[in-house]
C-alpha cells in the first residue's frame, strides 16, 4: 500500500485483483444490482487510489478500510436516490420451495438471501459483512462506523429478525 501511496499503478493493480471480488460481493448484496455494484466498486477503488496516503495499517486492515469506503459510497448513493428493493425476491424463492430434502437446503439458502435483502440497511450490512464476507465484530464495527457494542446489538437484532421471518415464511409455505 506504501507503493500505491507513491503512485505505483502496478502495485495498485495487484491489490485491486486481490480484493475486487469481495468488494463486488458486498456491493451487490447492499445494492441488489450488478450495475450499481460495479459503479460502487469502481468509485471505491478510485477513492482508494486518490487517498492511499490516508490508509493506516495500525488502525484497520486494508480489506476493512476498502469495505468502509464502499459502505460510505453506498450510503451516499442511497441518500441521493432511494434504492428500491425487489419485493418479489421472497415470493420467487418461496415459489420454488418444496419439501424435497435434497433441494430444500439450496432453496432455504435462496429464501434466506431474499430475506436478508429486505432487512433494514444497517442490519443487512451487518449480516452480509459477518456471514458472507467473514469479518469479525470489530471489523464490522469499523466498516459501519459504529461502536463494538452497538454493532453486536445490531447483529443480534438482525439475526433475530431474520430467523423470525425465515421461520414464518417456511412454515406458511409448508402448511399450504
Amino acid at each position: 500500500m506504501q507503493s500505491v501511496a507513491q503512485g505505483d499503478q502496478a502495485a495498485f493493480g495487484v491489490l485491486l485483483r486481490r480484493h475486487v471480488d469481495a468488494l463486488y460481493t458486498y456491493a451487490n448484496r447492499l445494492g441488489q444490482s450488478p450495475g450499481l455494484a460495479e459503479d460502487l466498486v469502481q468509485e471505491t477503488w478510485l477513492a482508494a487510489w486518490q487517498h492511499a496516503r490516508r490508509f493506516n495499517p495500525r488502525k484497520a486492515k486494508l480489506t476493512t478500510w476498502l469495505h468502509r469506503i464502499l459502505h460510505n459510497k453506498f450510503i451516499d448513493f442511497t441518500r441521493k436516490s432511494r434504492v428500491q428493493y425487489d419485493d418479489n425476491a421472497v415470493a420467487t424463492a418461496l415459489d420454488t420451495f418444496n419439501a424435497d430434502d435434497t433441494e430444500q437446503n439450496r432453496q432455504s439458502s435462496a429464501l434466506l438471501e431474499a430475506l436478508i435483502a429486505q432487512l433494514p440497511q444497517d442490519q443487512k450490512a451487518a449480516i452480509v459483512l459477518t456471514h458472507v464476507q467473514g469479518f469479525g465484530n470489530r471489523d464490522v464495527a469499523q466498516i459501519l462506523g459504529k461502536g463494538l457494542r452497538a454493532t453486536e446489538s445490531l447483529l443480534a437484532t438482525a439475526r433475530n429478525n431474520l430467523k423470525t421471518a425465515f421461520n414464518q415464511q417456511t412454515s406458511e409455505q409448508l402448511s399450504r
Binding site: 485483483r17 466498486v41 439458502s109 434466506l112 438471501e113 430467523k163 417456511t170
Partner: protein, 100 residues
C-alpha cells in the same frame, strides 16, 4: 427451525460469494485519474527527510520575505521618539509646567 439449523444456514452464506465481472478490474485501471494536486503535493513533501526539512523551512522563509518587504520606516525608533515628543508637548500645553 432450531438455532443450530439456522446457524448452519447462515454459515452456508459464505459459499454465495461472487466474482466480479472480468472487465471490472480492467475498467478501473483504465480510468485511474491523476491524484488530487494537494495529495500529490503532500506525497512529494513527505518522500524524504530533506524534503521534510524544506517543508519546515518554507514558513520561515515566507515570514522573512514578508518581514523584509514591509515598510518599517513608519515604525522606526525615530518615529517613536517624534510621536512621544508630540504627546508630551500636548500635555505640557494642557497643564501648567509646575503642576507636572
Amino acid at each position: 427451525m432450531n438455532d443450530a439449523d439456522f446457524a448452519r444456514h447462515l454459515d452456508r452464506l459464505r459459499e454465495t460469494r461472487q466474482s466480479a465481472p472480468d472487465h471490472l478490474a480492467t475498467r478501473i485501471l483504465a480510468n485511474l485519474p491523476s491524484r488530487e494536486p494537494l495529495e500529490e503535493l503532500f506525497a512529494w513533501f513527505s518522500r524524504s527527510l530533506l524534503r521534510g526539512a524544506v517543508t519546515a523551512l518554507i514558513p520561515l522563509l515566507v515570514g522573512f520575505g514578508l518581514g523584509s518587504s514591509s515598510d518599517m520606516d513608519a515604525e522606526s525608533p525615530d518615529t517613536w521618539y517624534e510621536a512621544e515628543s508630540l504627546v508630551y508637548g500636548e500635555i505640557l500645553e494642557e497643564y501648567d509646567y509646575d503642576e507636572i
